[in-house]
Amino acid sequence: MTHVGYLVAGWGIVVGVLTAYAVRLARRGRALSCLVPKPRRRWLEDRGVDGS
């Protein structure tokens, strides 16, 4: 395989950045959820954002 370094760098940066952002979102959401009562978190209800 040619250009292995470029491929590792390119794919690695994409996966790394998106994973880090997703983890940050999850942590931020967890921290904020503690501050907000359940009725204000619509996705926990039956008629939630995603209808779950």
């Binding site: 470029y6 794919w11 997703a22 999850a26 501050l35 907000v36 996705w43 939630g48 995603d50």
Partner: protein, 279 residues
């Protein structure tokens, strides 16, 4: 797995829901399949020159395009959502549209930054350059990235949320005007770009390469959907936390006032900071 209780606080304090977890699992599976397609099943781009017989092409660097091109599409999509939501902000003036616009802009800017980085990394082995200042598509993409970076900065500096939302919406609607320039630049300024004209529209690529590219679009769409859902909920929680904090402070203040009034009515001195307020 944690369960929801009537108390609501403590046991399941996340932005996740059953369906968003399914979406997350589907996204991870799609990313894994895309990796297998891109690195194990597709062939490198190697062609033979008809006259000299020498090999030429992108070789394995073409595997970068399976992530770069889908990122471009979801960048356009994110900014498109931001534009529609910004119109909603100006017309409806509700927090839902504002959170949607902010969410789409933030995710779109991350995607746009990744487009610039992966394009640069791909360009080094293929074009023999990291960056070309005279390339119209590169420059219009950079301008798009910088304008939405400014949008995100604007959202942090204005105090009044309503004014902030309206100003940001106007900036977003101006910024998205750059997207047609980015997309059509390879045709409008054909001699001022290293980028080739679209090969997708004319279907000049074939079979597994084309399938992998389209699977990349699906995967990037799933990533966008998961990030969007959770970023929206975080934005919604940020507003709810502020509202809830203000409401709780008002209730607490009212109870303190009531307590002080009761004490005064029975001839007692109020406790705490209220003492200083009594003339």
């Amino acid at each position: 797995m944690a369960t929801t209780t009537d108390a609501g606080l403590g046991e399941r304090d996340t932005t996740g829901s059953p369906r968003s977890r399914l979406l997350g699992i589907a996204t991870l599976i799609a990313v894994a399949i895309l990796g297998v397609l891109a690195f194990a099943l597709t062939e490198p781009d190697v062609r033979i020159h008809p006259e000299t017989g020498e090999e030429f092409g992108q070789f394995d660097a073409v595997r970068m395009l399976y992530v770069h091109v889908p990122l471009v599409i979801v960048t356009y999509l994110s900014y498109g959502i931001c534009a529609v939501a910004s119109i909603g902000v100006l017309v409806k003036r509700t927090p839902w549209w504002d959170v949607t616009a902010h969410t789409a802009a933030e995710i779109g800017t991350i995607f746009c930054g990744l487009v610039l980085v992966t394009g640069s990394i791909w360009g080094r082995p293929v074009w023999n350059t990291w960056w070309e200042w005279g390339d119209v598509r590169l420059m219009t993409t950079l301008v798009l990235f910088l304008m939405f970076t400014g949008y995100l900065a604007l959202r942090r500096i204005t105090e009044d949320p309503r004014r902030q939302a309206r100003r940001a919406a106007v900036v977003a609607l101006v910024a998205v005007l750059d997207i047609p320039l980015v997309n059509r630049s390879v045709e409008w300024w054909e001699n001022r770009t290293l980028h080739q004209r679209s090969t997708l529209g004319e279907l000049k690529i074939e079979d597994l390469t084309l399938f992998t590219l389209f699977f990349g679009f699906v995967t990037a769409g799933l990533v966008l959907a998961w990030l969007f859902l959770h970023r929206f909920r975080v934005g919604w929680l940020e507003r709810a936390a502020i509202d809830h904090g203000v409401a709780a402070a008002i209730v607490e203040r009212q109870s303190e006032t009531s307590d002080a009034e009761v004490r005064r009515s029975v001839g007692e001195q109020p406790e705490g900071p209220e003492e200083g307020l009594v003339p």
